[in-house]
């Protein structure tokens, strides 16, 4: 290899000769140095290190302050919750000893904590840590603030029990406490600060170092207190098999693909669907399809502009061909499913209520509906971005569907940062496009099911349906009540759930024990020898 460098040395002047020689020597040394890099990956120390290519740099490492997926995905290894979800989307205890004891009136939740659980600073977790953590979550986390409205009091009852008293029955409480996104992380009380400067949790990995735009480095926590139940989804026994996890920001999707194929990354998150065939044919990589991963949805402005008229929103819904939009967004049918029902058939919240209104691109009917709603030709302002290419491609089809039904369209393509600012101003848009992961509890997403989210959906039917759903603790009754909420969504069209899409990720063939979940985790995974 050094010979190649010498052979290619170009003609030079006497003055340049020293520079050229130095360069030749340097290049030769660098090419020879190739062994350093590969050997570091090929022969890791015991337990090894996992190189995990993420889509970018996390916005923060404070798991409460952001609902960005990146933050939760990384920090769920450091911090744990009182509860979590198993492989079947059931809530199961994590730091809590068992499921909570709920009073007859559904207002008082008594949660026993596991004993002997150690924080990364060596101290044992007590109810004081849990109360302080949940208080912080309710004060500063977007999800926690929503829960705080329902909470009358939060207090410790002895060193290993906490009691949450509600203002009114609120069944999604435990689901909120179990979600690892903008999450109710249990932190060591003496590490709590705003902003967080120490990341002291109870997870199987400890925070070691963050070099922005380079890596977030976590190392195994040897004193980790694992549960005894078998692992299932995020629940059960967790074991840190790797010595070290390195979350690497790799914003370029093609680079993540190439890095997986070369063996540099043991896992690569969110890959283009076009790369699936290449990944499938490579012997050292396994493509992973998480189905369903999420759903694109269109938020409609119910507060201002033409779509404040519910009849026009219904016309928009009728005009859209959701299957075509998904096809444009995700290509092969392997990567999407045009499901009208918000939850799949085998899940607790499956319902077909209202699904007859799921858009099939009926332009004729939509035109009649728009005429009946006295549409005056005001352009429908569509706000979209190319940060997620499927958003943009869906928007293109949506615009054509709307035009076919006689709507005028004003397509505004901006960057993502601009979109999430502009969507807070009801004068600037009529429809914007975003997406969400499929979450096990319906009211966790999209935020339009809560109060004050862009779109500003507020109606008596919404309040009544959600109040009944949130107050009901019986899982069987909740499924039917969710159907009522779904029907109201189809009827009042505050948002249009286009369908489900699957995510493509890649793991090294020798990465053992990996379980595909929406937010990938790497406890219980290791490298085969």
């Amino acid at each position: 290899m050094s010979r190649t460098a010498t052979e290619h040395s170009p003609p030079h002047t006497p003055r340049l000769s020293i520079v050229v020689r130095l360069l030749s020597a340097l290049i030769a040394a660098l090419v020879a140095g190739a062994d350093f890099g590969t050997s570091a990956i090929a022969a890791p120390p015991k337990g090894g290190a996992a190189n995990i290519a993420m889509i970018g740099e996390p916005q923060t490492l404070d798991p409460m302050s952001s609902t960005a997926d990146l933050v939760g995905t990384i920090m769920q290894h450091v911090y744990e919750l009182l509860y979590t979800y198993d492989a079947n989307s059931n809530v199961v205890p994590m730091l809590a000893e068992s499921m909570p004891t709920v009073s007859q009136d559904g207002l008082v939740y008594t949660i026993a904590l596991r004993k002997g659980v150690k924080f990364h600073n060596g101290k044992e977790m007590t109810s004081a840590d849990v109360v302080a953590s949940l208080q912080r979550w309710m004060e500063m986390a977007p999800r926690g603030k929503a829960v705080a409205k329902e909470v009358k009091s939060l207090e410790a009852k002895g060193p290993n029990t906490i009691v949450i008293t509600l203002n009114r029955p609120y069944a999604p409480l435990v689901a909120h406490l179990a979600l690892s996104n903008g999450f109710a992380a249990i932190m060591a009380k003496d590490s709590i600060a705003s902003p967080l400067t120490q990341f002291v949790g109870t997870g199987p990995y400890m925070f070691k170092e963050r070099k922005p735009d380079q890596y977030v480095q976590l190392v195994r926590f040897d004193a980790y207190s694992a549960r005894s139940e078998p692992a299932s989804g995020y629940g059960g026994k967790r074991e840190a098999l790797f010595d070290e996890l390195r979350f690497l920001p790799v914003p370029n999707a093609n680079t993540r693909v190439e890095g997986s194929l070369s063996g540099q990354y043991h896992f690569a998150d969110v890959l283009p669907v076009e790369s699936y065939a290449r990944l499938e044919s490579a012997p050292n990589v396994k493509p992973v399809l998480t189905a369903p991963f999420g759903f694109p949805y269109l938020v409609l402005n119910t507060k201002q502009g033409p779509l404040a008229n519910v009849a026009l929103r219904q016309a928009v819904q009728a005009s859209l061909n959701n299957a075509d939009m998904l096809g444009a967004g995700f290509g092969d049918a392997k990567f999407y499913s045009p499901d009208a029902n918000h939850y799949a058939k085998n899940t607790p919240f499956y319902s077909t209520a209202g699904t007859e209104n799921y858009g099939k691109g009926d332009a004729k009917r939509a035109t009649a509906m728009a005429t009946a709603a006295k549409y005056d030709g005001t352009p429908i302002k569509i706000l979209t971005s190319q940060q997620y290419d499927f958003h943009y491609r869906i928007a293109l089809v949506m615009a054509e569907n709307l035009k076919a039904a006689g709507f005028k369209v004003d397509m505004q393509v901006v960057d993502w940062s601009t979109l999430i600012q502009r969507r807070n101003d009801p004068a600037l848009w009529d429809i914007y496009i975003t997406h969400s992961a499929v979450l096990p509890e319906p009211t966790l997403t999209p935020p339009q099911l809560g109060d004050g989210a862009p779109g500003w959906w507020s109606s008596p039917a919404k309040d009544a349906a959600l109040a009944a759903f949130n107050a009901e603790a019986d899982p069987k009754k909740r499924a039917a009540l969710w159907g009522n909420v779904q029907a109201v969504v189809f009827s009042e069209v505050p948002y249009i759930r286009v369908g489900n899409f699957n995510s493509v990720t890649a793991r090294a063939a020798k990465l053992d024990g990996y379980v595909a979940m929406p937010w990938p985790f790497f406890w219980n995974t290791g490298l085969q020898k």
Partner: protein
């Protein structure tokens, strides 16, 4: 000379003040909001407003500008909203990969561009000229991201000689980190060599047409000595200008290449900061990059003194 230096220095200060003002105005008038990006999809308008206030972003722009200028005067570029560290520290952390990448790329560009440009001029209109000029056109036309991906597939994925991306695992020695820079340096070197080659050729052709070159040849001086001793030195002045500008461009961050290869350099920092609307980082980084430009231009002017004795200030 002293008067020249004083006037240049005063000019540099004025330019930097103008740059600071423009950078502030442009970043603050661009749509987007760092608080909204930071808090994520579920944040409400009230959450966003609260975070904005905590960073002082709710204050009137003139107040923010005055505060920023005051901090600049004290040498403080501000605190990154996302990185939770001073902008100077964030820039310093990224200086290493950008500096080494620039040096490698410049070296490759010079090694390709200057000798090929000279050869193309000396053997004007020959196959050598045609080949090198064709290479220059190709180098200038190839998008760096495309070349990067092709090299990545060939040398990193297929042959496994180099890492695909990144700047080395935690704690690795410098040699390993530099190993990560080879492919991106080749990309930048090839792309930037085109301009250097074209300038070297044009400048050399001009000089080879001068009377004193004809005189030297008439005196029987060997062609090698004519080219390397008499022509090259004079031909280098415009080339040095191009080299300086290329250097300044690269030290400011090879944005596309750094992004494709996932290098934590200054270019990557600027792109991330723009996408996240991390105002202090955008402002600080652009100010430093502008400062580098101004400084390098000044140094190039001084370098003329060393290269060409006829130049006097």
């Amino acid at each position: 000379m002293t008067r020249y230096l004083a006037s240049r220095f005063a000019g540099m200060v004025i330019v930097m003040l103008l740059v600071a003002t423009l950078v502030f105005l442009i970043t603050r008038h661009a749509p987007g909001d760092p608080a909204a990006v930071m808090l994520g999809e579920q944040a409400t308008a009230a959450d966003i407003a609260q975070l904005r206030a905590s960073y002082g972003l709710d204050k009137p722009l003139p107040v923010q500008f005055a505060y920023w200028l005051g901090e600049l005067a004290r040498g403080n570029l501000g605190q990154s909203i996302f990185l939770q560290r001073p902008v100077t520290q964030a820039l310093a952390e990224r200086a290493e990969p950008t500096f080494f990448l620039t040096m490698f790329a410049m070296a490759i560009a010079m090694v390709i561009g200057i000798p090929c440009g000279i050869a193309a001029a000396v053997w004007r209109n020959s196959w050598i000229d045609q080949t090198f000029s064709g290479f220059a056109m190709l180098g200038a036309s190839i998008p760096s991201f495309w070349l990067g991906l092709i090299l990545m597939q060939m040398f990193a994925v297929s042959l496994g000689w180099f890492p695909v991306a990144g700047y080395g695992d935690p704690g690795v020695p410098l040699s390993n980190r530099l190993h990560h820079l080879v492919l991106p340096a080749i990309v930048l070197g090839v792309v930037n060599s085109a301009l250097i080659l074209r300038f070297s050729r044009a400048s050399m052709l001009d000089v080879l047409g001068e009377d004193y070159i004809r005189t030297a040849r008439a005196k029987g001086v060997s062609e090698r000595r004519v080219v390397l001793h008499h022509a090259l030195r004079n031909a280098l002045i415009p080339v040095v200008t191009v080299l300086g500008l290329t250097f300044a461009l690269l030290i400011g961050g090879a944005i596309v290449t750094e992004t494709v290869f996932g290098l934590p350099g200054i270019g990557n920092l600027v792109v991330s900061a723009v996408l996240r609307r991390d105002y202090p980082v955008i402002q600080g980084a652009l100010l430093v990059i502008a400062g580098m430009y101004v400084l390098i231009n000044f140094l190039i002017d001084l370098l003329y003194l060393a290269i060409d004795p006829r130049v006097k200030y």
